[in-house]
């Protein structure tokens, strides 16, 4: 994933000001911003839902957002905080629709839906409106629908916040060594062990891009304060040795 010179303001606030970012295939990245907003905006741009005013980006090796079922969109999945679909749809209908829009034949669609039902524990909930199962069900269904197409890049915006911590951790341990995951979170500590890199956006640009292990190496924790401190230490010039 390559982002170069991305600019975008929202309500006259410049949230992205020439942002450059390069993320290798298979990385699990925690994306945070200070103050919040730029991280979710970047995810929206990468998902093709929000337009950047300037700059370019490539996701899954493709620069152009196309609508073909076999192209760009099928290789990228985006999960908004609330699932994003109509609450009156049942989980079965959401998964059927997602499979149909992805262009799968009925047999393949059934196979993928059956696998998703098992993986995301939806068996007892398939036929009632997703909204009746509360936000936790809607979020699990949203993730199941996002994963249905086996995407190369997964963009997660505050995912599964209503799901219990243990279950959330299990569901967010996304399989696939070559699958790139970009996760936006206001609570970095809850993503411990789920990510291997950290990116901090500040002033519309990348203020820190580091491996998660570097935090521990500096005696810092995976928290907003820890990420800020690491960014500050990396930005500060080395202290000259005194004579």
């Amino acid at each position: 994933m390559v982002v170069a010179g991305l600019h975008r303001s929202v309500r006259r606030r410049k949230l992205l000001a020439g942002l450059d970012l390069r993320i290798p295939v298979g990385a699990r990245v925690l994306l945070v911003s200070d103050p919040p907003g730029a991280d979710s905006l970047l995810l929206g741009i990468l998902a093709g839902l929000v337009r950047a005013r300037r700059g370019r980006f490539e996701v899954a090796g493709l620069a152009r957002d196309d609508d073909s079922t076999g192209g760009w969109r099928r290789r990228i999945a985006y999960l908004p905080p609330d699932g994003g679909f109509y609450g009156w749809l049942s989980p079965r209908e959401v998964l059927e629709l997602a499979g149909r829009l992805a262009g799968y034949e009925p047999a393949e669609r059934r196979r993928r839906i059956d696998a998703a039902v098992e993986q995301y524990g939806l068996a007892g909930e398939m036929n009632r409106p997703a909204s009746r199962g509360g936000p936790a069900l809607a979020q699990r269904v949203g993730l199941a629908a996002a994963m249905l197409g086996d995407p190369e890049v997964l963009l997660l915006d505050e995912p599964l916040r209503a799901v219990g911590a243990t279950e959330r951790r299990r569901l967010l341990e996304i399989p696939g060594e070559r699958r790139t995951v970009l996760l936006v979170s206001r609570y970095p500590a809850s993503e411990e062990g789920l990510v291997d890199r950290v990116v901090l956006i500040r002033g519309g640009r990348v203020a820190l891009q580091a491996r998660a292990g570097e935090l521990a190496a500096h005696g810092l924790t995976l928290s907003m304060q820890g990420i800020r401190d690491l960014a500050q230490r990396q930005a500060a010039p080395p202290i000259a040795a005194s004579a």
Partner: protein, 242 residues
């Protein structure tokens, strides 16, 4: 095609579940109610027929204005609450979302205007003998065509503005174009192919000189305007944040 049908089906279900389908249909049916219940003075049958059809024409214009407002508010809300984004992130082109919602609202208008027109016609009773049924049908069909243009304008405004401003502006613009055509009869609004022409013709169907020709002209122009407005709405939606 299947993506279009999927969006249109979702849109119809959303309209049904949120009671907006019943609301719009009910409004259009209400348009026919005054024609059925308002007492008309006896004597001149021509005046009697006009006295029954004119309130229907005014009610229809007002109902379509409200439908345009509902369409504008709906598409704006779809943008803002992320349901349009959910579809776009699944390879549904933004233009298809606009077209799907347009088709759903067109069906709702048909379901409302059709029974309303039948009710208005039946309310004529013996006076129906002096009204040309073909002219009545063609004029109502032209009014449906104008309704489609109003919907397309609503979708354009909804792609551009927030929910409440889109709703108010969509309803007010449509009402300003259609209602005065029947109530005041401004030439700029009632001369075909102006959008108010079918409503003015309907309001004065008994005396209209060329109701079928003029209605067909106005209806055709409205369909062409719908196509242009839909293209504009798709282009605006293409640039909108979802």
């Amino acid at each position: 095609m299947s993506r279009f049908l999927a969006v249109a089906g979702l849109a119809l279900r959303e309209l049904w579940i949120s009671f907006r389908l019943l609301f719009v249909m009910g409004l259009l049916l209400l348009a026919a109610l005054p024609a059925a219940i308002v007492p008309v003075p006896g004597g001149d049958p021509l005046a009697g027929a006009t006295g029954r059809i004119q309130p229907f024409a005014i009610g229809l214009a007002a109902g379509l204005a409200l439908a345009a407002g509902v369409a504008a508010g709906t598409i704006s809300a779809e943008r803002q609450r992320g349901t349009a984004g959910w579809l776009v992130s699944r390879a549904v082109p933004r233009g298809t979302i606009v077209a799907g919602w347009f088709a759903a609202f067109a069906v709702v208008l048909l379901l409302g205007i059709g029974p309303a027109a039948v009710l208005a016609w039946l309310s004529l009773g013996p006076l129906a003998e002096i009204v040309d049924p073909v002219a009545f049908g063609v004029t109502v069909a032209a009014a449906w065509g104008v309704g489609l243009a109003a919907l397309a304008m609503g979708l354009l405004l909804g792609s551009l503005l927030g929910t409440l401003p889109a709703m108010l502006l969509g309803g007010a613009l449509t009402a300003a174009l259609l209602v005065p055509a029947v109530t005041i009869g401004l030439p700029a609004l009632v001369t075909p192919p102006a959008p108010g022409a079918p409503f003015a013709i309907l309001g004065d169907l008994v005396d209209a000189a060329r109701p079928i020709t003029d209605s067909v002209r106005a209806g055709g122009a409205a369909l062409a305007a719908s196509a242009v407005l839909l293209l504009l709405a798709s282009a605006v939606m293409g640039r909108a944040d979802l």
